[in-house]
């Protein structure tokens, strides 16, 4: 749910990175954090376990620039990917304006990808969102690994409706900003449409 503040002339939006455990959601945020000018970003918060698995969420506030005199600020969140953290995922999806689904390209993670995208659809529906009408982009991460599944297979399994999609290798930044820009653009277009 976006927040438009006329007093500080700011538009605030919430983007959630979703996907199965260890697919690279936190790595996406870390790359964005490391490569963004200090004046455009806030502190990155990671609520993680001792083994650095996301326990509740990661959070990164980011400024993207101005539109018609309004500063656009995006709050990026990740969800914990592990199956048993579903209650936390539902909480983090509340008030979301856009979603990045990060898929793990490794062939042995395909079932986890499918389960996670179905979980996303169900959890969005529980919050009153229709996934097909919510700004959403798909990122096929870890494309550099030798056991990466063929892209066509991933597309047919995870993106039958033809959402914007990007290949990525988040550890070296490939595709990370392209994905972020696409979802941010999609969120702003959606808000414009909702405003009539």
């Amino acid at each position: 749910m976006s927040f438009i503040n006329y007093s500080s002339r700011e538009i605030n939006c919430k983007i959630v990175y979703y996907g199965p455990g260890l697919c690279g959601k936190t790595t996406n945020l870390q790359w964005i954090y490391n490569k963004t000018n200090p004046e455009l970003k806030g502190k990155m918060i990671s609520l993680a376990t001792e083994t650095e698995r996301t326990l509740f969420f990661d959070f990164l506030p980011l400024a993207l620039g101005e539109i018609r005199g309004f500063k656009t600020r995006f709050h990026l969140y990740t969800v914990p990917g592990q199956v048993f953290y579903d209650a936390s995922r539902k909480l983090i999806l509340k008030g979301v304006d856009g979603v990045v689904f990060v898929a793990d390209s490794q062939i042995e993670r395909m079932e986890a990808n499918v389960e996670s995208v179905e979980n996303l659809r169900a959890n969005l529906a529980e919050q009153g969102y229709n996934m097909d009408r919510t700004p959403c982009v798909i990122q096929y991460n870890k494309r550099d690994l030798p056991n990466a599944a063929p892209l066509d297979e991933m597309k047919s399994l995870l993106n039958p409706t033809g959402l914007p999609e990007f290949e990525a290798c988040a550890t070296d930044g490939k595709g990370v900003f392209e994905t972020l820009k696409a979802v941010a653009r999609s969120v702003l277009r959606d808000l414009k449409q909702m405003s009539g």
């Binding site: 007093s7 909480l91 008030g95 909702m194 405003s195």
Partner: protein, 162 residues
């Protein structure tokens, strides 16, 4: 039902600020923060300079969300009041109208009883203000009068052209 967006105008902000500035004095608080349930900072008052307010807002919302989940597990709708006691500073967190979070930071110049008493009155005032904001937002949305209705696809693309 998907949440509607929150649109706050300068006059709304001034009304909110008036309430929290008075609450700082009445409760002898160090600082007060008004946060949207989704983690956006709306207003702040008091003497707490240098606090990372963006993180504070996000973590407060996460805290309220997590305890809200706990509440449902035990058959409650919400736990609307939280109190965190520290060695020097304490946090009193209240959920107002299921949507707004009022955070009061106080030390031994005040007391939990005083904060509770003053928050109750201020919470009622904030609830009324946000009810008005919500109604206004809905009227504006019906008329298509938000900044988004004026922006063009070029404006959006220009944001990413650098």
């Amino acid at each position: 039902m998907r949440d509607t967006q929150l649109v706050m105008y300068d006059e709304d902000y001034r009304r909110i600020l008036g309430v929290v500035q008075r609450l700082v004095r009445d409760a002898n608080a160090k600082g007060i923060f008004v946060v949207d349930r989704n983690g956006q900072l709306i207003a702040e008052a008091g003497e707490m300079r240098g606090v990372d307010t963006t993180s504070l807002a996000s973590l407060t919302a996460g805290c309220i969300a997590a305890t809200g989940g706990l509440a449902k597990l035990v058959g409650e709708e919400d736990f609307p009041v939280h109190f965190h006691q520290g060695q020097r500073d304490n946090l009193h967190i209240t959920l107002v109208s299921h949507r707004i979070i009022l955070v009061v930071v106080f030390d031994d110049r005040s007391s939990l009883g005083l904060v509770r008493l003053r928050v109750k009155k201020a919470g009622g005032e904030l609830a009324k203000i946000f009810e008005d904001i919500q109604k206004k937002t809905e009227r504006q949305a019906a008329r298509g009068g938000t900044p988004f209705s004026e922006i063009t696809d070029d404006d959006i693309d220009n944001l990413f052209s650098v």
